[in-house]
Amino acid sequence: MKQHKKGLALWLAVVALLLAGSIFAGYHGRTETVQEAMRDAVLHNVNQIQFLGGKAVNPGLVSAFLVTAVLLLAALLLRIFVIPKFRLAPGKFQLALETVVGLFDNMAKTNSPHRNGFLGAYIFMAGAYIFVGTLFELLGLQAVTIGGHPITLPAPLSDVNAAIGLGVLSYLVILSGGIAGNGVKGIGKALKEFSLPISMSFRLFGALLSGLLVTELVYYFVNLSFILPVVVGVLFTLLHAIIQTYVLTMLTALYYGEVSEQEHKEKAKPEKG
């Protein structure tokens, strides 16, 4: 009990010291105003990063490749070390993996019962990408811009190009489902939903950008950097990671199922007379 109290006091002292230190530490001034920071978070026309020593790209693209690398590395490790040891009676970790795969597979099967092989794989990828990509901003990985300033790598989908890329790709997947299921009629069916690529792209962009802007705003002022980030950073990020994952995958599966469903011609009933 006495040791417990000592530990608590020590922790409080460390927190108080860090708080005092951060408040009274010398502030060297900002290189950009809050307006510039917010504007750049949306347009990415100032803080760009050189991609593989070549073209200057938005930080979101670098984040996207990093997220892919992290996901593929994790998948490779799971494939080598975990999946071969799968048992008929699953353990907790195996159960979690099976639940995630089963979730997207069942979503594909439920929404598109006729044709769902590729859809399952696609929404699994999209779900993993959106979820991990959104949580990626919590890591706060640093990069150096072409102007030589340090920058925190944002969530990939807070970049409009990434959001358009995923939104349009999802639409193309839906279109491919229509063609595979109904041929030329399927194209017509998919084209009827012409607003879908725009709505899916900008829904993702808007949701992720709003998170980014709030985080930018909070971190812009040092005094707001205590306790508040726990709520706006971690909880909000977690929440919209889950929501956006669910929304995009569900919409893609739903529209895919709708356009790939084969039409059955009703036989003309013989008239009684």
């Binding site: 949306v42 073209k55 996207a64 892919t68 998948a75 099976e98 699994f124 990828m125 190009n161 890329g165």
Partner: protein, 165 residues
Amino acid sequence: MQIPLNIDWQQILLHWLNLAILTGGLYFLLFKPVKQFMEKREAHYREMEEQAAGKLQEAERIQESYQQKLDQAGEEIHAARQKAQLAVQQSAEEQLAQAQKQAKQIVAQARAQAEHAKEQAMKESQRELKKLATEAAEKIAFRPDEDPFDQFLNLAEGGGAHEVR
């Protein structure tokens, strides 16, 4: 031409490249093997369930066959019991009929014996009566000092004179 929001087609294509790599990688490294394992397990449990269902069906078939045999045996027992009862009843009736027949024979025999004994007795008594009558007649007839006719008459009148004498 400046595209609003700094949309860059090249970067969009790079994002597509990234997503294509991710889709293929995740499919072959994670999605497919896990799904295959789940399908394999499902097939394993389905097979077990089918085997169990097959065994259950076999057990039901055996039970039905034994039940049929049991029912058949019951019917056979019932038939045998009926047959035995019939045989016993028939035997009892035969014995009863025989007994009745014997009884009738015994009664008839007894009646015949009784009739014969009665006839014998009658004959014997008649013979004795005849003998007695003969002796009596001889006694009467062989009184030397009296006239036989008178003796007879005296006897017929009551025997008073004879008594007086």
